[in-house]
Amino acid sequence: MKGKIVELDDLLAFADTIVKKAVSRGADEAEAFVSSSTNVECQIQGGILTTREGVDEGVGVRIVNGKSVGFASVSSLDEKQTDEVISKALSLAKIAPEDPKFHQLPDTIKRGTRSGAFDETIVTLDSAHLMKESAKAVQEAMQTDKRVSYVDGFSSLGYGTFSVVNSRGVNAGDKSTGIGASIFVKAENVGEVKLGYGFVVSRKYCDFEGVGGNLAKNVLSYFGAKPLETTFQGTVIFENKIVNDLFSGFLGYSISALSVQEKRSFFADKLGKQVASKDLTIHDDPQLREGIRTSKCDHEGIDVLQKTIIEDGILKNYLYTSYSAYIDNVESTGNAIRGGFHGLPRTSPSNITIQGNKNLEEMISEVEKGVFVKEYVMGLGHSNIITGDFSIVAPTALLIEKGELKHSLNAITIGGNFFQTLKNLQAIGNDPILTQNGKIPTIAVKNLTISG
């Protein structure tokens, strides 16, 4: 395996050898997932600079013995280590109790899909380059104004290849590149502290110009905040970068066919029914050219499928891996994602895209009383993902009264329910941004409990 990027053909050949060995050693069915990735990261936290660069590669082996499945993995492409992994997976599959719902490893599904953008430039870059670009972004934020008191900049770039081969004929893989930066800014003015968070992600090379400076300017505009000192039911406009976090957790979990089959999803029994405002249409688009999660196939080697999740408010599709697809006797939608070679396939959306048509000014003008929540929110991770209940703290928000933006607010809390939120959408913005999870716009939601 020569050159900087490990070639797909090499990884496919290696995975194929493992599968053949496993079958010859008694596996009913076998699957090998092999990946190699190189990542470079740089963080500048209040002036402290750290970097890390590394090669991470390994093998995950799934062995089927009747209806029992065993999985073992190792962080190595060494033959001796991978032979041990085959043995471990074989023995786990022998002693693991049966999973009556397990049918088989997937058969090949071809859908004529293509890879996402791959940028050779990124492969040539090293930590020195990333450090210089990150330092520029951090400086840009620091130099915006002397009230900017703290900046935390994080950046990363990477490239990688994965392959999946199984004993039923699947033989697929893909390669990708990526680069991104996120930045956190704190500004202080006579005892008042304001915070902001911004990011940029891309499959193709980009610099970070403007990310730090624009964010710092926004943060400075939040000074002069006043306490809300009341609790009311009102409209919340969530800035696009927050909507990403709001949607990815709840939506990803509830549209998984596995969650539905196991009756852990709010969307169980709701296919074909109205689950959201009729203005809402959401797609899962694994073929979005610039999408971060775009791929030719999923991590089970199944060609991906573009699909509608919600159309005009009606729930259209669940997301399937091969496991859940065989249970419902349908084809996998190609939504099996692994967290690297150590992970088993899980159901995950690819790129979520949401269509909107309103510009921000219109959205604000339609709010009688509410808030515009900006930058980031805290506490989403501790929501009840099953019921949809959330309670979040928004450190940065602006008051809206009679269709006009008023002053900035001290931290407020917002309580509500995600599934009610889908029904209570007041407007969807025409300003989608590319995130780790798709292309996501600003939204306005009615009837949330706002207090401060």
């Binding site: 990261e41 002036g47 786990l92 009840n384």
Partner: protein, 484 residues
């Protein structure tokens, strides 16, 4: 005595060290880890996942004029290891030209040690997969037997153990065998549109015998099922500021998330947190003392479920640090890099998630020390308020604000528990919280484990433990509610 060895892999540590010296690197630290990880997940009585991972890799860190360069590799071959050393050195040299803040290492006497695992009966490596699977199944059956309107039961077992060696060019050579185990049983009950969840979990650097003795799978399944059933018919907690008792679990999470991170010296130096420049100041009532230590030395064996951490990943002895001493901020948590800057000494808090990461300032076992109240006395002193129990996690801002969701709780009136409550959001600021602690109970618990863990700077899921007694909190300590 349990000892796991690295075998011939250990040669790569010396190879990297030697190559660094050949290149003229002023300071090099090499860490090699070989970890075995196992998980079993049982859902609805079916084993959904049984997996065994082996994670082996080598980390290299170079310090050049107080700036670090870090590289790692899973390719344990001569050329790949040498390349990692070159990458780390190069990054440190470029960083040296860019960095605006340098953290040269504090002096530290080199240590050569290989501490044995403390005495336990059943190390996870010596227990068969079958036996572990049985424990998980027993918890599941018990949850089924004791639940009401149960829609989901998930029982998970997780274990991690292995060998870690840290060497540096000053002569430190420390090798030890970290390990942790945990069982988590989560139950969801459903009646109409009401979903109620609850969990029970136990784990830490312990032998699997604890699941035979104190925390049997049967008891864990029963507890989770019972609590979920109870939540089905319980009310929401009344909203607003009120007096409270915070249980041992939630106390631990607050000690770690809301207070502990504030004392991490790297965050103090960078100016991210509010406790910067406050050492020596009185922040809380005299009822609060908060500690972070590497190896829990308390005598309450039943509740000692901490994380065994004799050294940090710089090869520094993991010392006991009293961060808050009867309300006074007394010390920060340090790595060798932050110690010199803070004019303090290394405390053994430099930890890395695994070989893919460089050590940064992290906690080990973080807790509020116990007080002298019995639980009954605490209830009596509470009079009217909320007894808030456990959390599935929390979030804290650098400004001291926090928000946690207690999984469940009880309404207390006139010193008596009157009725169960559903999950409730608790928000506040750690400084208000510390000032309002009116007392602490005698009972003490430390919770470690395999699942969860701490996240910081992209290093998420770091093994550690937290805990404490139950804390009695005055009315201005926290706010309840915020949801509809």
């Amino acid at each position: 005595m349990i000892v796991l060895e690295l075998g011939e892999l250990e040669e790569f540590v010396d190879l990297a060290l030697g190559y660094g010296e050949t290149l003229g690197v002023p300071f090099i630290e090499v860490r090699l880890e070989d970890d075995s990880v196992g998980e079993i997940r049982l859902e609805k009585g079916e084993v959904k996942e049984s997996k065994a991972l082996r994670d082996i890799g080598l980390a290299v860190r170079v310090i050049y004029n107080g700036v670090s360069g870090f590289a790692f590799t899973t390719r344990l071959k001569k050329d790949s290891v040498e390349k990692a050393v070159e990458k780390a050195f190069q990054a440190a040299k470029v960083g040296d030209r860019i960095s605006t803040l340098r953290l040269p290492f504090a002096e530290y006497e080199p240590v050569v040690d290989n501490p044995p695992i403390p005495p336990i009966k059943l190390h996870p490596k010596d227990v068969s997969f079958e036996d572990k699977k049985d424990m998980v199944m027993r918890a599941h059956e018990s949850a089924e037997d004791h639940g009401k309107s149960v829609t989901s039961i998930i029982v998970r077992y997780g274990e991690a153990y292995g060998t870690k060696i840290v060497v540096n060019s000053e002569g430190t050579r420390v090798k030890w065998n970290p390990w942790t185990v945990e069982i988590v049983c989560a139950v969801i009950s459903r009646k109409g549109e009401v979903l109620a969840d609850a969990w029970e979990r136990h784990g830490g650097s312990v032998g699997l015998e604890i699941f035979e003795d104190n925390f049997s799978p049967e008891q864990m399944g029963k507890n989770a099922a019972k609590w979920a059933a109870e939540k089905l018919v319980s009310k929401r907690a009344p909203a607003g500021k009120q007096r409270a008792i915070i249980d041992n679990n939630l106390t631990g999470v607050l000690a770690h998330e809301s207070f502990g991170h504030q004392t991490e010296a790297d965050l103090m130096i960078s100016g991210a947190v509010i406790l910067k420049d406050k050492i020596g100041e009185k922040l809380g009532s005299e009822n609060v003392t908060i500690v972070d230590e590497g190896v829990y030395e308390g005598d309450n064996a039943d509740s000692n479920r901490g994380w065994w951490c004799p050294y940090d990943d710089e090869g520094v002895i993991a010392e006991k640090v009293v961060m808050l001493d009867q309300g006074v901020l007394s010390s920060s948590l340090n790595s060798r890099g932050t110690a010199k800057y803070m004019e303090s000494k290394p405390t053994g808090n430099a930890r890395a998630l695994d070989f893919r990461f460089e050590p940064i300032v992290r906690m080990r076992n973080t807790y509020f020390t116990p007080g002298d109240l019995s639980f009954e006395e605490a209830l009596e002193l509470l009079k009217d308020g909320i007894y808030a129990i456990d959390t599935m996690g929390g979030q804290s801002g650098f400004d001291g604000t926090f928000m946690f969701k207690a999984i469940r709780g009880y309404l207390v009136r006139k010193g008596e528990i009157v009725e169960p409550l559903r999950d409730v959001a608790i928000t506040g600021n750690i400084l208000d919280f510390l000032k309002n602690v009116e007392g602490a109970t005698r009972d003490f618990e430390l919770h470690g484990g395999y699942f969860g863990g701490c996240g910081k700077s992209g290093q998420n899921g770091l093994f550690l433990a937290d805990g404490g007694p139950k804390l009695l909190l005055g009315g201005d300590g926290v706010q309840f509610g915020g949801e509809k």
